[in-house]
Amino acid sequence: MTRYLNLYWLFLIQRLKVLMEYRASFILGAASTIVWQGSSIAAVWVVMQKVPDLNGWNYDEVLLIYGLITLSKSINHMFADNLWTLGRMYIRSGGFERFLVRPIDPLFHLLADRFCQDGVGNFLVGAALVVKSTIALGIDWTPPKLAMLVVGVLSGGFIFIALNLITCVSAFWIVDSVPVTRLVFDNHLFAQYPLTIYPRAINILLTWLIPYGFASFYPASYLLDRQIGNIAWFGPFVAAILLFIGYRLWQTGLKYYSGTGS
């Protein structure tokens, strides 16, 4: 385990060295994600100047939800972005075989091989939104609430990673897994806003099937003292289950890949 941690650190340092060389690209990448988020937030701001609340959620509460999911998303964006590229960059070119010839876990290698600097932009935006909104809302940071913040963001991040892992495994069969991953990933956009604005079907989708709700809505509801019940704490379990499913699928995919060749 420590070996893998040390190795990851080394991979990360090397990657950062390269990124620092391309400093302009680094900044531009982070800036572009900030601008994208900024556009959506600007729209929310404009709208909420005109109406006091969105389905019972005021401006800062909406920002909190948006900020939480952006934070979770940024974890995936920074550390697991290479999952998107499995098919196009590694399987199609045969580069994945190199992972199999090295004495380390190929999934680890895939993840460690690329820290994505664009995710830093998302992290900054998410953090800024959470800070701004929680100050404006005057949240009383009791230990459970602090725990919920950390747990919520982390388990949200792992839910993102797990769902991406589950979908990217399709690359072993169809090579270009990006459309499949997008099909699931884009649903997180629903969770950028309070889930209560959607019909029941979408609520169920985002809670039990593609559970992005645990990255934003449920932690936010808890932090805002809305009577949400224990479901608020389900996040880590949901993440764990999804990660388990993802890893098993990965192993199945690997087995298929080594059975049929590239």
Partner: protein
């Protein structure tokens, strides 16, 4: 005669048989792209419905008018973009430059025609999205021919504005290798500034001034406002004039910058 009929029939049958073949030949991307569009539209619709939950009208717009605007802006959003930044920044550039310097054809004109063709194709590909919007989200189109004409003229003018604007921007790629990031950055801004996310009328006055001082809105927000009647048809000539002024301005800027950039290449080398 029977033989002729038989032959015709077999030709028709062959064409007909192609349809399911095309169906299955369509890449995964196409169908998934459609689902992704549905997700985006659903979020927009539910968001705005929630916004209007306790209000009948915002900035003079009722819910159905706003929804009509938002959905149409979504459908026509390709008008605000193009590939010039990619093309100029890519390896194709050298080949392109040689064409420009050697051929008698107007380089910009040729690119404009290409861009127009590409846009038409993209809009055609939006047809399934339109169908979904009509069926699932109750989108209704205006039936008045005059409104449509007003829209089409405005859309053509608007995309021309964007063409020259992006041409201007694309010249930046002669000076930097950061093409991809630049393109994404502009796209991100265009998202809001084109009036796709929020009707321009709803913005506070100072923001409206800012949005209208950059060209993005001319390609989507303004034409769609005409189409939905948010800007009444009587205002159409004024709108077109503004767009034409934008075109002139952007054309001047883009041509100048292009000349400078080309000189840089021919003097210093790409």
């Amino acid at each position: 005669m029977i033989r002729n009929a038989k032959r015709d029939l077999s030709v028709y049958a062959a064409f007909f048989a192609m349809i399911p073949k095309l169906f299955m030949a369509y890449q995964l991307w196409f169908w998934i792209g459609l689902v992704l569009s549905v997700i985006s539209m659903a979020i927009l619709v539910f968001f705005w419905r929630a916004v209007y939950a306790d209000t009948a009208s915002i900035s003079g717009l009722a819910l159905d008018k706003t929804l009509q605007y938002i959905l149409l802006a979504f459908i026509f959003s390709p008008l605000a973009g193009n590939d010039l930044v990619w093309e100029f920044g890519s390896n194709l550039r050298e080949g392109m430059m040689i064409h420009h310097l050697l051929r008698p054809i107007n380089f910009q004109g040729m690119n404009y025609a290409q861009n127009l063709g590409r846009l038409v194709t993209e809009l055609m590909l939006q047809i399934p999205v339109v169908i979904v919007a009509v069926v699932l989200f109750g989108l209704r189109f205006p039936t008045d021919i005059a409104t449509w004409l007003g829209f089409i003229v405005s859309a053509l003018l608007g995309l021309t504005v964007m063409f020259f604007f992006y041409w201007f921007l694309a010249c930046l790629t002669f000076y930097t290798t950061e093409v991809w990031g630049l393109g994404v950055l502009i796209q991100g801004m265009s998202f809001f500034l084109s009036g796709t996310l929020v009707p321009i009328i709803m913005m506070p006055a100072w923001l409206q001034t800012i949005v209208l001082s950059v060209p993005f809105a001319q390609a989507v927000g303004v034409p769609v406002s005409l189409l939905t009647g948010i800007i009444p048809l009587s205002e159409a000539p004024r709108v077109w004039l503004t767009q034409i002024l934008w075109i002139i301005g952007m054309w001047i800027l883009s041509t100048l910058f292009f000349k400078v950039a080309v000189r840089k290449i021919t003097v210093q080398g790409g």
